[in-house]
Amino acid sequence: MKVIAENLTVARGERHIVEKVSFSLDSGEALIVTGENGVGKSTLLRAFCGLLPMVAGEVRVENGPPEASLAELIHFLSAKNAMKDSLTVAENLSFWKEFCRSGYAEPGLDPEQALDTLELAHCLDLPFGYLSTGMKRRAALARLLVVRKPVWVLDEPTSGLDARSVDLFSRMLQTFCEAGGILIAATHLPLGLPGAKSLEMKALTATRANDQMAFE
């Protein structure tokens, strides 16, 4: 499976935030998006997931499941956790496990096992709202494990995590990529992924220079 983004251009209002960004990722490859605050990392990720309209460019999948739309193949984790404070962690995860399951996504781990991977199994029956910031983030990361999807798009996945959890998480990412997963992450911390591609975004000037995206 291969994910290709070509000439992505995204505007907020009149202003182009992301201009002509292209990348392609094969199974098992990772792309780390870096850049200063406000440079358009989140905008790029949201547009990639189809949550923001693009001015130009396209995102497509090659050799993927024939009837699935790209959005269905993606696990998207934004800066927000997508969990309900009043439900327990287990209830939150079971709900997403049920709801995100589709013909293309294989069932993943049980909520308990997923939390165990992130060393959070003891919080299974606590309301999500009782957890600390870092624990909330870990519980949100466990959502990626309860349903298997081939593409992960993560926006600042490590925000609020302590060093030990970052370690756990980067091991989780390695396992995912080794199993053929495609990862796109916007982050400021190194995620410990050898061989990951990187995309450094720079602020667009008012003149809208075209070739400002460095891509290696």
Binding site: R46, A71, E72, A79, M83, S86, E91
Partner: protein
């Protein structure tokens, strides 16, 4: 999809008083009416169905602003939008759950409040039946309003202003049908059928409009 329905019920139940807020508001409106109108029992019985309907209408508008706003605030809306389920269906299920939590209690509380307004038993039965058929329309049309204002931090009042003109037909036919059951020459069946038709129509148009709005509000 059943998991979404039960999740909504659980959230409403846990976050406290989703059902009770509406019923309490209903109670507040209905109780102040006799004080304002005066204790004449015949007048109260004459306007009773209208009071019940107006109170139920306002009470159903109460929690609507939170319908999609909470999902948006905690990021769940993105995940809901990206699955293979059609968003129209997701909105429909959310409306159903919202109605079970806020609309159904109003219907069940109607007999008690009807007694306070001296509405005769046949009128109470008719009010319950028309509210049962009509309040889903308010939730479904309201969902479209809630989707429009999803990104506004204080959208509650705006929803009421957007939605009220659209639900006035529901109010008219609900009250007409209830009066028809109570006062002899007036018909009951015809306005009741139109009320049912309004609900069925909004069951299609409401979720469709709301889903479109939500897709385009995601930024």
């Amino acid at each position: 999809m059943t998991s979404l329905f039960f999740r909504e019920l659980k959230i409403a139940w846990r976050s406290g008083g989703g059902a009770l807020t509406g019923v309490m508001f209903f109670l507040a409106v209905v109780t102040v009416f006799p004080f304002g109108i005066g204790p004449d029992l015949n007048t109260l019985a004459r306007i009773g169905p209208a009071v019940l309907w107006i109170a139920a209408l306002l009470a159903s508008l109460l929690g609507l602003d939170r319908l999609f706003q909470l999902e948006r605030e905690d990021g769940s809306l993105d995940v809901l939008l990206m699955q293979e389920w059609p968003m129209t269906l997701v909105v429909g299920i959310k409306c159903l759950a919202h109605w079970v939590v806020t609309g159904l209690p109003l219907v069940l509380a109607t007999p008690i409040f009807g007694l306070m307004l001296n509405v005769p038993p046949i009128g109470i039965a008719a009010a319950m039946l028309t509210l049962l058929a009509g309040t889903p329309a308010i939730t479904l049309i309201g969902a479209a309003g809630a989707a429009v204002t999803v990104s506004l931090p204080r959208g509650g009042l705006l929803i009421a202003i957007l939605v009220l003109p659209l639900v006035i037909p529901v109010l008219i036919f609900g009250v007409t049908a209830t009066n028809g059951a109570m006062f002899d020459p007036d018909p009951f069946t015809a306005p009741f059928m139109i009320l049912c038709a309004l609900t069925l129509f909004s069951a299609v148009a409401g979720p469709l409009a709301a889903a479109t709005m939500l897709r385009h509000s995601a930024d």
